[in-house]
């Protein structure tokens, strides 16, 4: 049972997706409630199946657990395995994926009105893709799931999105694929270079990531090119500043559930990839490019905050805020010390919990007022106190108020960045101010002040279902904020190995 868990986790959503697609229910276009129940049940079961990961991969464990590997196919001498497994880096992210998927499944009925059956199909396929990416331990498996994850979101934004959805979804898809195509070339190059494995004397071709992580030794110049190929693909996905223009469009045009999944999990693919592939595989190149990427991280932090401050559309503001919150993760990763790395992982989880909550809240207000212009709101706290409570709490979390999840990630990253490059660390802390500026001015314009518009007077406050959807996220704010040890202890060993691998090349 031990090794098959990762297999079950990956393919349960896929089976569910097929089940939903071909379920004999004559659901109306809106999708019969039974269909929704079915999908939600599948989501819940997947989440429950992922819980043993948390207990199985307890604090301080090391190396890969729940390894599942079966020969998939062979091209001449290259034997490719379908390998899945969990290690310190991916355990938290898989749990985040299953949690966010459950939340989306429960929050979607309120705003997905047409073609519900296809929506659920694509959602579950996407969950399978995302879990697959985090669990993949073989290059081909990784790339297969990487693309399987992109197509559903293309459909999610394309069919259920806003007015300019076609432009937005096409831009998102082509931008990401352009990056991942370079990565494909790098993967082909890696897979074609024979690896001297200890078992046999003559170097052999293998596509397993674990072997590459241990035994890959490349000359420096090739490391530079391969590092760039991988890094560009992931920096587009993060997104960092020069490659970020697809994110605001994708977020603004995506339906709420699309934005939640995009912000909650998909953006983590980039940072996960940086830590999983770029650092350990190409240590010398990492050391060479680290300062540059730290600067890019800080630029992302400040530039994202500045842009968010200038937005008048609520969703765009949150989109730019996630660019600003992901900048420090790149900064922390390339600080190349325990604090930076663990801070980045924690910031990934905390961003993966805070921004979806923000998007859910924006979605809830959009469903009531059908507009996202901040100017259209004002004094909402009077008519919707529960909404106000959640919005203020989520704002505090994402602004990094100590005691909530945002602070832990940011503080560790600042410590790490400061150790690596004091001046840059100091500049990065300026982000603390701008982060507060745009978030609080948004909260003030939306919640406080007198009720100027008539419609705001008769808004219905959050229902039980909506509160239940937000509850798990809020609990995680506090859990990570107050007890980060439980999270960092699970990732510290793996990250230490990665850091050691990079530093030994110094």
């Amino acid at each position: 049972m031990d090794s098959s868990l990762s297999l079950i986790l990956t393919f349960l959503p896929l089976l569910g997706a097929l089940l939903v697609l071909f379920a004999p229910l004559r659901g109306s276009d809106e999708g019969s409630p039974v269909l929704w129940r079915l999908a939600q049940a599948i989501g819940l079961v997947t989440f429950l199946a992922s819980l043993p990961l948390w207990t199985g991969y307890g604090p301080g464990t090391e190396g890969v657990k729940f390894l599942f590997s079966v020969p998939w196919f062979h091209i001449q001498t290259l034997q490719v395995h379908f390998a899945l497994g969990v290690d310190g880096l991916s355990v938290l992210l898989v749990l985040l994926t299953t949690l966010i998927s459950v939340i989306v499944l429960f929050s979607a009925p309120s705003h997905i009105k047409k073609r519900a059956r296809e929506f659920l199909f694509w959602l579950l396929v996407m969950e399978c893709g995302m879990i697959g990416v985090f669990l993949a331990l073989d290059f081909f498996t990784f790339y297969l799931f990487w693309e399987v994850m992109l197509i559903p979101l293309y459909f999610l934004i394309g069919i259920w999105g806003g007015k300019r959805r076609l432009y937005a979804t096409l831009k998102f898809f082509i931008y990401t694929v352009a990056g991942s195509v370079l990565m494909l070339l790098a993967i082909i190059f890696l897979v074609r270079t024979p690896l001297a494995l200890p078992g046999n004397e003559v170097p052999v071709l293998t596509s397993s990531i674990l072997d590459h992580l241990k035994y890959l030794h490349l000359p420096v110049t090739t490391q530079y090119y391969l590092f760039l190929a991988f890094a560009i693909a992931f920096l587009i996905k993060v997104p960092t500043v020069p490659f970020h223009t697809w994110l605001p469009d994708a977020h603004v045009e995506a339906p709420t559930s699309g934005s939640v999944i995009l912000a909650g999990v998909l953006l983590k693919m980039g940072t996960y990839g940086l830590i999983r592939f770029c650092l350990p595989l190409f240590p010398k190149a990492t050391l060479f490019f680290a300062p540059w990427l730290m600067v890019i991280g800080v630029i992302g932090l400040l530039y994202g905050a500045f842009l968010a401050w200038a937005q008048s559309d609520l969703k765009k503001l949150v989109a730019y805020s996630s660019i600003s919150h992901l900048g420090p993760i790149v900064l922390g990763t390339f600080a190349l010390n325990a604090y930076g790395l663990e801070g980045s992982v924690i910031q990934m989880i905390s961003h993966g919990v805070a921004t979806p909550a923000l998007f859910l809240l924006v979605g809830m207000i959009y469903e009531r007022r059908h507009t996202r212009e901040i100017a259209a709101f004002g004094g909402i706290a009077k008519t919707m106190p529960i909404f106000a409570f959640f919005l203020v709490l989520t704002t505090f979390a994402s602004v990094g108020l100590p005691g909530l999840s945002g602070f832990i990630g940011e503080f560790l990253i600042f410590v790490g960045a400061f150790k690596a490059w004091p001046l840059l660390g100091a500049i990065a802390t300026a982000g603390v101010i701008f982060g507060a500026v745009y978030m609080l001015s948004m909260v003030r314009r939306v919640l406080f002040g007198p009720v100027k518009h008539e419609e705001n007077k008769l808004l219905k406050d959050l229902g039980l279902r909506e509160v239940l959807v937000l509850a798990p996220l809020v609990i995680l704010f506090l859990w990570i904020g107050l007890f980060p040890g439980q999270f960092t202890s699970r990732t510290s060993k793996t990250l230490a190995q990665i850091q050691a691998k990079v530093l030994e090349a110094r």
Binding site: W72, F73, H74, I75, Q76, Y143, L144, W146, E147, V148, I151, Y154, F155, G158, I159, L166, L170, F173, I174, V177, A178, V181, L182, L184, L185, I188, F189, V191, R192
Partner: protein, 502 residues
């Protein structure tokens, strides 16, 4: 010595002889039987059977050629055939592929016929000509001698000239046929003139011998052979619709009847590349930059041209040009990597790519021909809107074909692209590989345009639109499932190619 047609020659040519006998039989039957439903099914059935027979003979030959085969070592070709015809694993595979593509396009053409058409009477001739196509292509494929190559090329082209202009009543089809004929003949004239110069230069007409002369770089001083070789290559580029010589492709593909477009886009391209492969030793190193330029130009022209198309057949024509560019990348990797360790990888990449591209293009154009009769507007992107709801199966097949052409992982197209880029990286042509793969990203746009039209847009009418004919439906779903199956388990196809050497 006297020239006699030994039994081994007969055995070697068997895969091609089946369609020839089939064609002759169909021709006579067509004359004798009075036109009617029975005659037509007989004709259709017979031609399908002959193709199937050819394929089975080819498969038997391929198994025989496997080194692991228990029978005595490779048999010697008869004196008549030996100087003129290759008998190697990859040529047999090539002919199997061609026969298979013709078989599928014949099956697809089933849905294309409509009672009232004026051409309906010429049902028999259509099948005869279609059967001759693989014969010509097979000869071209195995030709060691330029004469045989020319004959094969002409059989192939002439049968296509007529097929393209088959719908005499519609100006588009006739104009396409005329254009294809004139430019085809123009190309053939180049072929002749090229072979004349080669003959003048080296004294004989067989390709491998020529290779040895040209291999150590072009003879100094500059001889007729090199000039002839260059002109010969141009004729083949024309047939494979590579960039500067691609002009005829969009018009002819749009004008021709859809099943014929399917046959032509996959068959001629494969045949042209097969001859290029056998002429590979002819490949002087000085020409490498030219090939790189042509590859880049094809990818650019093909992908960019397709971006602005509204007619689906024209769009697939341009995508064909782009795919010719990718094939050229692999071909160049093969030629450059001649001496390297795993020289066979490029050849395997080429064969695999041609097979996958063939099936995928057939599926895509097959869907069009399947529904074209019911709703002629389907050929344009506007007409395609909302097909996702009107005919989910056809839409799914077209979507799978589009994703495979784009090279998205769960489809066979991805493994084809993987092979191409593995070959070009193996041959050390990294910049070309990077350009080609970025070019494929441009291509992504118009494949997604198909998906957008299928699923995202709502069509004008929304009543369900069923395909015309069950057989076609079955073949299409066979092709689509093949694409997905190979996509998930590439083993099935790759192991077949394992011991393919040039």
């Amino acid at each position: 010595m006297h020239f006699s047609f030994t039994s081994t020659d007969f055995y070697v040519l068997l895969p091609l002889l089946f369609p020839v006998f089939g064609a002759i039989l169909v021709l006579c039957l067509d004359l004798l039987l009075k036109p009617g439903k029975g005659a037509r099914t007989l004709v259709h059935g017979l031609s399908l059977l002959s193709l199937l027979g050819g394929i089975l003979a080819g498969v038997q030959q391929y198994l025989y050629l496997q080194p692991s085969h228990p029978l005595p070592p490779k048999i010697a070709l008869g004196p008549l055939l030996e100087p003129v015809f290759h008998f190697q694993p990859w040529t047999v595979l090539g002919s199997i592929l061609l026969l298979f593509l013709t078989l599928i396009s014949l099956l697809l053409s089933g849905a294309w016929w409509k009672e009232g058409d004026e051409e309906f009477r010429a049902y028999g001739e259509f099948h005869v000509l279609t059967l001759f196509f693989p014969v010509g292509a097979g000869l071209l494929l195995g030709a060691k001698n330029l004469m045989l190559a020319f004959i094969g090329l002409e059989i192939l082209s002439i049968s296509l000239y007529v097929l393209v202009a088959f719908r005499r009543s519609r100006t588009k089809s006739v104009e396409a046929g005329l254009k294809y004929f004139l430019l085809g003949a123009f190309g053939a004239a180049f072929f002749v003139y090229g072979s004349a110069l080669i003959y003048a230069g080296q004294g004989n007409l067989d390709l491998p011998a020529m290779g040895t002369i040209l291999q150590e770089g072009l003879p100094q001083p500059f001889g007729y052979a090199a000039l002839g070789g260059a002109i010969l290559f141009i004729a083949l580029f024309f047939k494979a619709s590579i960039a500067p010589f691609h002009m005829w492709t969009p018009d002819v593909y749009e004008g021709a009847p859809t099943p014929i477009t399917a046959l032509m886009s996959t068959g001629t391209k494969a045949a042209a590349f097969f001859l290029l492969i056998s002429a590979a030793r002819l490949f002087p190193h000085e020409l490498v930059p030219v090939f790189t330029f042509l590859a880049i130009l094809s990818i650019l022209v093909g992908n960019a041209g397709a971006l602005v198309q509204t007619n689906l057949k024209r769009l697939l024509a341009y995508s064909g040009i782009a795919h010719a560019g990718y094939l050229l990348v692999a071909y160049q990797a093969m030629a450059v990597g001649q001496g390297q360790t795993d020289a066979g990888i490029a050849l395997r990449a080429l064969l695999f790519y041609l097979a996958v591209y063939g099936i995928t293009n057939l599926a895509a154009l097959g869907v069009l021909s399947w529904i074209e009769r019911k709703d002629p507007e389907i050929v344009t992107l506007e007409g395609l809107k909302g097909l996702g709801r009107r005919n989910p199966i056809a839409a799914a097949i077209l979507a799978i074909a589009a994703l495979s052409l784009a090279g998205i992982p769960p489809t066979a197209g991805f493994w084809a692209k993987y092979q191409i880029f593995a070959a070009s990286i193996q041959a050390g042509q990294i910049p070309l590989a990077i350009f080609a793969i970025l070019g494929s990203v441009i291509g992504l746009y118009y494949y997604l345009k198909i998906l957008v039209a299928l699923y995202f847009k709502e069509g004008t009418s929304s009543e369900t639109l069923s395909g015309n004919g069950l057989a076609t439906g079955l073949t299409l779903s066979f092709c689509a499932s093949a694409i997905l199956l190979v996509g998930i388990l590439p083993d099935l196809f790759l192991n077949v190619l394992v011991n393919v050497r040039l």
